[in-house]
Amino acid sequence: MKVNKLEVLSNVQVSERYWHMKLEASSILEPVKPGQFFNIKCAEADSPFLRRPFSIYRMNKAEKTIEFLYLMKGQGTFKLTDVVAGEKVDMLGPLGEGFTLGKTWDTVLLLARGVGIATLAALAQEAVEKHVKCIAILSARTNNDLLAAEMLQGLGVQVIKVTEEDGTSDVSNVHRLIEQLLIENDIKATFTCGSKRLSKLLQKISKNHGLPGQIALEEHMGCAMGVCYACVCDIKEENGINSVRVCKEGPVFNLEKVVLG
């Protein structure tokens, strides 16, 4: 972890609500793992006051760039859309614990909702590089929000889209979809991000099928470095329920252990 001042190569709107930012990252020497994040200063001025955490969307090791896919939602992301190519952005990171791909996992299932798709896209990229078969259910309000779908398909990920627009994104339908995929494929592990409802569903299914799972949690953060204890979640462990830091012990947790409330 360090304070990086990275040059923006591009920062463009890619759909109605989503933006994509690419930065020059040769100064980041430590490995950056899928699921890890950067705490970004979205504006030079004091408003918004705090940094905002963004998970990594893509890392391009050869060309030494890093990409973020973000939803224009509040004051921070709104300000970030003002940044233009050539400007520098202050990014603290990489932060947190990322995803782990087990050595024997030759087929994995990803279940992502909304901006959680960006987080799991980074994992899909690594899985494909490791010749792991990747099946991804992407859920969003509209097809317009499913912008990472094509990128993932291009990588060779089997993508299934569900949306409110098409009336396919309800939990029961996603449940049926997953059960079908589990019959058709020898899925070894599951991953999720972006929806509490879908995470609960995947937690239940993974438990029933004895599959290991991982979840990337989203949380408002103070310091994002593990010192302030603002972003905590409950984890079930042998000694009972413990409150741990999303920014430090997470944001990726064992799906089975997370108390989703």
């Binding site: 304070v3 006051f49 705090l50």
Partner: protein, 305 residues
């Protein structure tokens, strides 16, 4: 000027410079960012005797010019602190000030006595601004007599330099400051966060899980400057200014108001290198104005008569 004198004293505690982190806004997790040997002091997060789970989330929220927090001193308890937290800092030549939070006067004394025996501890900061479970949730630091008794009892069981962290949520901070001085405090931290509240107008819910939180950040700095000024008028013991210092200009302002040292809290979240930058800025200021000793600046506000 090669010979800038930046060292300050708080009781028997000697600091190589006046810049240190505020409790709860610093941790060993930041060690890859800068050299802790450059700090005036190391102040780990407040410790409680027993493990504490902390408050309901959300624990922080952003407001104009600052943030509210109500963490609830999530803590793994004193034994864990002694075994796992303190040893991390033994490698540095920077004095460590242990911040203590407790539920009763006796517990403050008991913890201070235990912590005093740790060789890497050079001073103790008493968080008397936390709610007193014996006193219906009122902070110890809101009651002058209680503050006096508390400091006196702690001083009786330790030779460490004792700093009382005052609450700004009082009618007269001068009265509390004097009570702490009379009790034997070696220094005063002015101050903890100010009690505040924020409401989401769309959900109509408080933005903090605990409903009330403490506000920190640049929004409160002028209030802290005023409090330092008021405390300096009634006491000569060292003051640590704390609250909304974002840059070196803020630090100098608090020193001019009467602070001998400065704690940096919320700024670490925005710029984790801020303490190092503040220190460099102070040196430049001293060079510009030909001030050889930082102590010569303390309380040097030119107030018209």
């Amino acid at each position: 000027m090669e010979s800038l004198k930046l060292d300050v004293k708080i009781g028997e505690l000697k600091l190589k410079n006046p810049i240190m982190p505020a409790s709860g806004a610093f941790g060993f997790e930041m060690e890859s960012l800068f050299d802790f040997n450059q700090l005036g002091a190391i102040v780990p997060k407040s410790i409680t005797k027993y493990p504490r789970g902390g408050n309901a989330t959300p624990r922080v929220c952003e407001v104009t010019g600052g943030m509210l927090n109500s963490i609830g001193i999530q803590s793994k308890g004193l034994p864990y602190y002694l075994k796992n937290i303190l040893p991390q800092y033994e490698q540095y030549n920077t004095p460590l000030i242990a911040s203590i939070s407790a539920d009763s006067v006796d517990e403050f004394a008991e913890m201070s006595e235990i912590i005093s025996k740790e060789k890497c501890v050079s001073g103790i900061e008493l968080n008397i601004s936390c709610p007193n479970l014996e006193g219906d949730g009122k902070a110890f630091g809101m009651d002058a007599e209680l503050s006096y008794q508390l400091i006196k009892k702690v001083k009786a069981v330790t030779n460490q330099s004792i700093i009382a962290k005052l609450t700004p949520n009082v009618t007269s901070i001068q009265e509390i400051a004097l009570a702490c001085e009379n009790g034997g405090a070696d220094g005063l931290n002015v101050a903890n966060t100010m009690l505040a509240m924020a409401i989401d107008i769309h959900t109509r819910k408080p933005k903090i899980g605990n409903v009330l939180g403490g506000i920190s950040g640049p929004a409160i700095k002028p209030i802290i400057v005023r409090l330092i000024h008021q405390v300096r008028k009634v006491t000569e013991i060292p003051i640590i200014g704390c609250g909304g210092v974002m840059n070196w200009e803020d630090a100098i302002e608090m020193i001019l108001a009467g602070a001998n040292a400065i704690q940096v809290g919320t700024a670490n979240f925005i710029n984790p290198l801020s303490m190092m930058e503040i220190l460099e800025g102070i040196k430049r200021y001293m060079t510009t104005y030909q001030i050889e000793d930082i102590n010569d600046l303390v309380g040097k506000t030119d107030i018209p008569v």
